[in-house]
């Protein structure tokens, strides 16, 4: 059911069993998964059902590092959260994403892909894609669209499914409304999670409305599910008992902010007929979803060359909005592409060739200095705003360049075509890398409290009854968009909370 914080009595104390802060993908899934249990669940959501400029302005903050979107543009403060503008790309993290890799400092999750698999299947249903099967062979058969036969020690094809995309706030509003044991309080901005005097438990969540009301929610357990920028903001701002912030005894809250670097990374000459009819073009209306293949550097390549996860999607170059086709360097590169097409027809295979753009979505290396802290400015509710300092490092740059070379080797070895590498040609290439609105890593998961903010159950180290949901807990990011994994982790957390309360 729904309520409104603006209608709560001023200075009221409300009691429940589980208090969830935030009703984005994670918060809504928690609410639905806990529906029908004996638990009384309150969800405190800052926004309403629709975008409200005044509420959205509470997301303003600073960005001081690598160029990033305005913080109030990169997320949505409303019921449904940032699913209000996601693009629907779905894929689980791969097993290697959970491993500790010797060449990636601070990599490794305390859980494995096997631990999450049972929850990924349910996540697939929440985002309304097809079957929980992401194997390339399966989708080749299902779509009838071939993938390139590439050397598997260099590059593989991985498949994404596409959510329509589901706006969680719309799709699940009625189910939440009908939930007998879940109440969502709209327009309820949590400004602090208050610790007990010993700091070992959360006693209450303090909420405020833009109309000036203040109230508190007391619960046996609390879950903060407000995204990778707002989670550290809230924990750091909650410093009445622990001056460094909640869960921050080892100076980790807010650190390791990661997004997926997105950029046009290469041009390729490829046979037009093979490409347009292939799995690399989005195939619609297959098994109730859409699917598309992307190029991904293989595990053997990553281990041999010590690179990060890397993916690249294929589009005709004229369709790539990130490429300035009038720029002299671009025109020169495309001109030589036509000459290369002649060579390819002569030596490899006949037929019309076309020039394609390869667009990268890559893993960012864990970077302790890439972080969210508190700005000096305060929002209308008196809470310090967030300050983002996104940093990319040498491992990111070298990994991307090496991965593009792997693409060149693979497409050449398969006698498909050639690659023009932007990282090698553009000295300021890394400045082109943008984020994807994926805010990850700022309350990372690790068994050791000196190396992580939460444990394998997403419980905050040192605080018995506080949990975190969402991509802030990711220690590493893979290349796949985070939403499916967010939903899987939220489902897993709901089961854990239910078991702990039983």
């Amino acid at each position: 059911m729904f309520a409104d914080g603006r209608g709560v009595a001023d200075n009221a104390n409300l009691d429940c069993d589980v208090c969830v802060v935030g009703a984005g993908a994670a918060g809504i899934v928690l609410a639905l998964e806990l529906t029908g249990t004996p638990l009384k669940v309150f969800v405190l959501e800052a926004g309403g059902f629709d975008y409200e400029p005044e509420t959205q302005s509470l997301y303003e903050g600073e960005s001081v590092g690598h160029p990033y979107f305005a913080l109030e543009s990169a997320r949505l403060r409303m019921f449904g959260g940032t699913t209000g503008h996601w693009q629907g790309w779905c894929r689980p993290l791969d097993p290697i994403d959970f491993e500790e890799r010797s060449w990636v400092p601070d990599s490794g999750w305390p859980i494995t892909r096997d631990d999450l698999d049972p929850f990924y299947e349910g996540a697939n249903r929440y985002v309304r894609v097809g079957p929980y099967n992401y194997s390339t062979a399966f989708w080749r058969r299902a779509t009838g669209a071939p993938a390139f036969a590439l050397p598997s020690d260099l590059v593989e094809t991985s498949v994404f499914q596409y959510s329509p995309p589901i706006r969680f706030g719309l799709a699940y509003r009625e189910r939440v409304r009908q939930s007998p044991n879940v109440t969502v309080f709209l327009h309820s901005n949590v400004t602090s999670v208050r610790l007990s005097s010993t700091g070992s438990r959360v006693e209450r969540a303090d909420a405020a409305t833009l109309t000036g009301k203040r109230f508190a929610v007391r619960a046996s357990r609390f879950v903060v599910a407000v995204g990778g920028i707002e989670t550290p903001r809230l924990l750091l701002a909650s410093n009445e008992v622990a001056p460094a912030g909640v869960g921050n005894q080892h100076d980790l809250v807010g650190r390791y902010f990661a997004d997926h670097p997105h950029a046009p990374v290469a041009i390729a000459t490829l046979p037009e007929a093979l490409s347009v009819g292939s799995l690399y073009y989005r195939r619609e209306h297959v098994l109730g979803t859409a699917a598309r293949g992307v190029f991904v550097t293989s595990d053997p390549l990553m281990r041999a060359k010590r690179t990060l996860r890397f993916s690249a999607s294929l589009d005709p170059v004229e369709r790539d909005p990130y490429v300035d086709r009038k720029a002299p360097a671009e025109k020169r590169a495309e001109g030589l592409a036509e000459d290369l097409a002649v060579v390819e027809r002569g030596l490899a295979r006949p037929g019309k060739r076309h020039v394609f753009s390869l667009f990268m979505r890559a893993e960012q290396a864990p970077n302790r200095d890439s972080r969210v802290t508190l700005a000096g400015t305060r929002d209308r509710l008196g809470m310090r705003e967030a300050r983002l300092d996104w940093r990319l490092g040498e491992l990111d740059r070298s990994s991307i360049a090496e991965s593009v070379r792997a693409l060149a080797r693979a497409l050449g070895a398969a006698r498909l075509g050639h690659v023009y590498s932007r990282p090698d040609q553009e000295p300021d290439f890394m400045q082109r890398a943008q984020g994807g609105y994926h805010h990850m890593g700022t309350a990372r998961m690790h068994a050791d409290p000196r190396r992580g903010v939460v444990d394998r159950d997403c419980r905050v180290h040192g605080v018995d009854n506080l949990y975190l949901a969402g991509s802030s807990v990711f220690p590493t990011t893979g290349f796949a968009n985070p939403t499916l994994t967010i939903v899987a982790l939220a489902t897993r957390l709901a089961r854990h909370l239910e078991k702990r309360s039983g």
Partner: protein, 139 residues
């Protein structure tokens, strides 16, 4: 320079790539109707439906690898004392050359032997075959 016989020249035209014999003929002749490339360069030219395009690529390669701007040296680098290669280049057998070159280029690329030509990653063999069309003859 070895001059092509009329018979071998027509044979080369017949083995030219997807561009077709007539188109290839236009590119294979200089302004006075004589073959523009002969010998190993002529064999290389016959691989491509637009040898001028390949020549441009070769020219770009030689701008950076000036030490290879010599046809005899390029033939040496390409054939590497392999008899099949020598025969294909010197006996002007483009179809055999196509098979040899395609295979070797694929191996080079798979092994990470890439050379950069104006930002594009290509196999050394591809670049050198094109360079044959742009290179100087030894004095």
């Amino acid at each position: 320079m070895t001059r092509l016989t009329r018979r071998s020249f027509l044979a080369l035209l017949g083995l030219a790539g997807a561009g077709g014999g007539a188109a290839a003929a236009r590119f294979l002749l200089d302004g006075e109707g004589a073959p523009k490339w002969s010998g190993a360069a002529g064999t290389s030219a016959a691989l491509f439906d637009d040898p001028e395009a390949a020549r441009r690529l070769g020219e770009a390669y030689l701008r950076v690898h000036g030490a290879e701007n010599d046809r005899r040296r390029l033939v040496g680098l390409l054939s590497r004392s392999e008899r099949e290669w020598r025969r294909a280049l010197q006996d002007q057998d483009p179809s055999a050359l196509r098979v040899l070159a395609g295979r070797r280029a694929a191996r080079e690329l798979a092994a990470g032997e890439l050379v950069e030509v104006d930002g594009w990653w290509v196999a050394p063999t591809e670049a050198r075959l094109c360079a044959l069309l742009a290179a100087k003859d030894a004095a």
